[in-house]
């Protein structure tokens, strides 16, 4: 049995001696006090586990001594049991009201006495555990806040404000937005124009913040090096896919603002509808998500297709995460898409919309204790963005890197079975700064050319099979079978680049071991537009200056001059 330290305070020495003996016989340690003052002093010095206190004592009586002891004990739970010969209900109730925890009537029943001592000891233990846990929680919480501050500092260094301070941007972002998963990034492109990205990671706290760092790193790094937004998104998607656990992803809206074309290319995945407002106030265009969020699809299935909107100077894009739509008022009601579109519609002029939205949301949530996690950005088309002023890579940067080079890569059957050379080819081309800006398109061109050479050439699959949905399935069934059975064949890729720094020419030639095809006839039929086998060809045509089939149709050569006269 655990020895409890029991303080017995009783001025009646015979009573005290008997009780003391009984309590000691039960295995406890006893300290005696002969009056109230002594009880308080002894308590302060010895901190007993439990106090047995006579009610009637000369000088300082039991009730007053108890008050003092309870105040000394502060948050520690020290049970005080009053000893009394009084047995009427009111006297017993008085004992408890004056701060005692229980009473014991004389003459004492030894069994009840020990049971009470044990019971109160358990309660003290419980109380102590509770206090320890409370302190532990407070400590952990302090530690967590400290960690969040450090993480925030690191994040701020990585995801610095970029060019969010540009005159053509207005935005609202909670100071601790990184911990509610919202990210806002903006960077000037080396050749003029701007990339803007609004991200909303699933979840809250550190899990939501963790993906924001590589995202910002990739966004700023690649934009500064001249990569196109499609390539940036592709890279971010791949990175998030590989680092985030299943079920974690990032809803995003990304904008490539191109003042030279007076257009904006927009990619939206999993974010609520956003709006494009014309400066003349005539029209509101709704932009909807067409893609899955970043970090969901594997690299080969990721769709980097952007939607282009003409944007004149003064036209405004409004992007937001779902925080603004899900902002709640004190009744728990959500702000909602409908209120949002009404605010936009009711604004007198496009230039008022930003303030009107802020005011409407503020008024709506007024008084409710909601976390401020509304992220909102307004991007205005501005001709001044054409100038590639102070931003990272300038024309001097573009003129660096490899200029005149060629490379040949021949893949034999055993390699073709399981290896996709497209990322490697793309990587080599991306060493040329001028090609980075069209990285996304180039990737598609190389992928398409390689797929034609491998599937139609080496594997001998007929593209015409893909003209019906059933044939499409059959095509891939056949493809799988033929890849498994493949023993002979090759694809030869030749890349040749010449450049003068600010412009250059890339020639890609692919030859395969297949039988070729009647390209003269194919050329004639290409215009008929079939939906399944013609994928990628319009894009190839749009950025390649020439496409030439050679020999029996098993060799194709495309030429791309950069910078593109008109990017897609």
């Amino acid at each position: 049995m655990t020895a409890y330290k029991v303080l017995i305070a009783d001025d009646n020495s015979v009573d005290r001696k008997v009780l003391s003996r009984v309590v000691r016989n039960q295995g406890n340690e006893v300290i005696e006090a002969t009056n109230g003052f002594e009880a308080v002093d002894i308590f302060t010095e010895h901190r007993p586990d439990i106090v047995l206190m006579d009610v009637m004592m000369p000088g300082l009586n039991g009730k007053e001594a108890t008050r003092q002891i309870k105040s000394i004990a502060e948050e520690d739970f020290v049970p005080v049991i009053f000893l009394t010969s009084l047995s009427d209900a009111q006297s017993l109730a008085d004992c408890l009201e004056s701060g005692g925890d229980d009473f014991l009537t004389k003459p004492y029943n030894h069994v009840v006495l020990q049971a009470k001592i044990d019971s109160y000891h358990r309660m003290s233990e419980m109380h102590r555990t509770l206090l320890n846990q409370r302190d532990e929680i407070a400590r952990v919480n302090r530690h967590m806040l400290q960690e969040q501050r450090v993480a925030k500092a690191v994040y701020d260094n990585v995801a610095h404000a970029g060019c969010l301070t540009s005159p053509n941007i207005r935005y609202e972002l909670s100071p601790l937005a990184v911990f509610n998963g919202d990210v806002l990034l903006a960077a000037r492109k080396p050749g003029g124009g701007m990339h803007v990205l609004l991200g909303d990671f699933t979840g809250h706290g550190l899990p939501a913040a963790i993906g924001a760092m590589p995202m910002a790193d990739i966004f700023y790094g690649m934009t500064a090096k001249g990569f196109g937004l499609r390539e940036v998104l592709r890279e971010i998607n791949q990175k998030l896919k590989s680092i985030l656990p299943v079920g974690f992803f990032c809803c995003a809206a990304a904008v490539d603002l191109a003042p030279d074309r007076q257009a904006a290319s927009v990619w939206m995945g999993g974010v609520p509808d956003c709006y494009l407002l014309r400066n003349d106030g005539e029209r509101i265009e709704t932009l909807s998500s067409r893609h899955l969020p970043l970090g969901v699809m594997s690299a080969d299935k990721f769709n980097d297709q952007m939607t282009e909107f003409p944007m004149a100077n003064g036209d405004r894009l409004f992007l937001w995460s779902d925080g603004i739509i899900e902002a709640r008022n004190s009744d728990g009601e959500m702000f909602g898409q409908e209120r949002l579109i009404n605010v936009v519609r009711d604004s007198a002029h496009a230039s008022d919309v930003y303030d009107d939205i802020q005011r409407a949301v503020d008024e709506f949530v007024d008084g409710s204790e909601q976390d401020d996690d509304t992220t909102l950005i307004e991007v205005v088309m501005d001709d001044a963005l054409r100038e590639d002023n102070e931003s990272g890579v300038t024309k001097a940067g573009i003129s660096q890197g490899p200029r005149d080079w060629s490379m040949e890569y021949r893949l034999e059957a055993s390699t073709l079975k399981s290896f996709n050379p497209v990322p490697l080819m793309n990587h080599i081309m991306m060493e040329v700064p001028g090609l980075r800006a069209i990285g996304g398109q180039l990737y598609t061109v190389v992928a398409e050319l390689f797929s034609n050479a491998f599937e139609h050439g080496v594997l001998g699959l007929q593209s015409s099979m893909k003209q019906s949905p059933d044939g499409f399935i059959e095509y891939y069934r056949q493809r799988e079978k033929r890849v498994a059975e493949l023993e002979e064949g090759f694809v030869r890729i030749n890349m040749h680049h010449t450049g003068v720094g600010e412009s250059g020419t890339l020639t890609l030639t692919l030859e395969d071991s297949g039988d070729g095809f009647d390209y003269k006839r194919h050329d004639r039929e290409e215009g008929s537009g079939n939906n399944y086998s013609g994928r990628g060809i319009p894009l190839i045509e749009s950025i390649c200056d020439s496409i030439e089939y050679r020999g029996k149709g098993n060799e194709v050569s495309v030429v791309i001059h950069w910078p593109l006269e008109q990017a897609t």
Binding site: D11, N12, S13, V14, D15, K17, V18, R21, V22, N25, M56, P58, S85, K106, P107
Partner: protein, 108 residues
């Protein structure tokens, strides 16, 4: 007058402390009567009450149940401030105590 059976139980509990306890009881109680009379002469019923209350508790501890009972009636008189009844009651209480004292002395 003394519950012998209970006293034997007390003896078992207290062991070597039994004799000193009885001696302590007698020493304490001996001086309570002059104390009570002194307080009474000053009309201080509260002091009388405290003292007789202590005597009551101590007596019940040494199993002098009748004496404890008698002390309780005196305590009630003190609470009521019955100054006229108290002198006689205290005298009677002392007589009972002397018998208990004698009995205890023979028992230890």
């Amino acid at each position: 007058m003394i519950d012998i059976e209970s006293l034997n139980m007390l003896k078992d509990i207290m062991e070597e402390e039994f004799q000193p306890l009885i001696e302590l009881y007698i020493r304490d109680s001996d001086r309570r009567f002059p104390e009570m009379r002194m307080a009474l002469s000053e009309g201080d019923c509260e002091s009388v009450r405290m003292t007789v209350h202590s005597l009551k508790g101590a007596s019940s501890n040494v199993c002098a149940v009748d004496l404890a009972e008698q002390a309780y009636t005196v305590e009630k008189m003190a609470i009521d401030g019955a100054l006229d009844q108290l002198p006689g009651a205290i005298d009677a209480l002392e007589q009972s105590y002397q018998q208990v004292r004698q009995q205890l002395n023979t028992l230890v």
